[in-house]
Assembly symmetry: C2
Homo-oligomer: 142 residues x 2
């Protein structure tokens, strides 16, 4: 099997420049080249790129993915490190969700408080943004 970068892109749903970017970042090995210097990929690259894509879809950072790939290459260790990375990612996502829910609540409060057709000088949206006094709780990020 010999795939051009475009073939690989079509098969994995990862865009061509992104594939090159992953190579530059060290996530993908530099592949063989054709006589005319074009990249030619094999099944292994297809698999690895699929892995990367899937992990990206789940929100893992490229650094985390690099660590996971490193782990894959040493299959005799315990998988504890891999689960640790994954649960770290889960924590990150949960923190983001908590924060966004707080923002959602606050925004609902703000938009609901405004009837939407008065003049701007009385607009509850703008007033809420201007003064913390109308806001109540502290919604600084964590």
């Amino acid at each position: 099997m010999s795939l051009s970068i475009g073939d690989l892109a079509r098969r994995t749903g990862v865009k061509v420049p992104t594939i090159r970017y992953y190579e530059a970042r060290g996530l993908l090995d530099a592949p063989q080249r054709s006589a005319g210097n074009q990249r030619r990929y094999d099944g292994g690259a297809l698999e690895r790129l699929g892995f990367i894509r899937h992990a990206r879809d789940l929100g893992f950072s490229l650094d985390a993915i690099a660590q996971l790939i490193e782990l894959q290459d040493h299959p005799d260790q315990s998988c504890e490190a891999a689960t640790r990375i994954a649960s770290g990612q889960l924590d990150t996502i949960r923190r983001k969700i908590r924060r966004l829910r707080a923002l959602e609540a606050e925004l609902v409060r703000i938009t609901d408080g405004c009837n939407g057709d008065g003049p701007l000088r009385d607009c509850y949206v703008l007033a809420s943004l201007a003064g913390h006094d109308l806001c109540g709780h502290d919604h600084a990020g964590t």
Copy 2:
């Protein structure tokens, strides 16, 4: 009242380089300068920066904030535009929450499926990331 950029930073919780950045982006008016070319702010700047900070905390983009400021400066119009921006932001946040919840569910499934002490070659975390077959649903972003 005459505040240095550092005073302003302390009072609003916005860092000094960020204040200068906001000025360069046109969100803050260029303030008066001291004889030695240092920025000197008045109460209006304090208020506006508070507004920006609050809106940033709620996740508004700088562009959206620029629009809101523009609206503030024309207080005779209807406040419909302001509510529209705010509910757009609410939509954005809700979309993000939905997506993150899907990722959370998938990550829970993956980490729960792994006992955490087998060898990496059998690790359910890595296997799940490698193959979409273990994953089931499509969690592409929207």
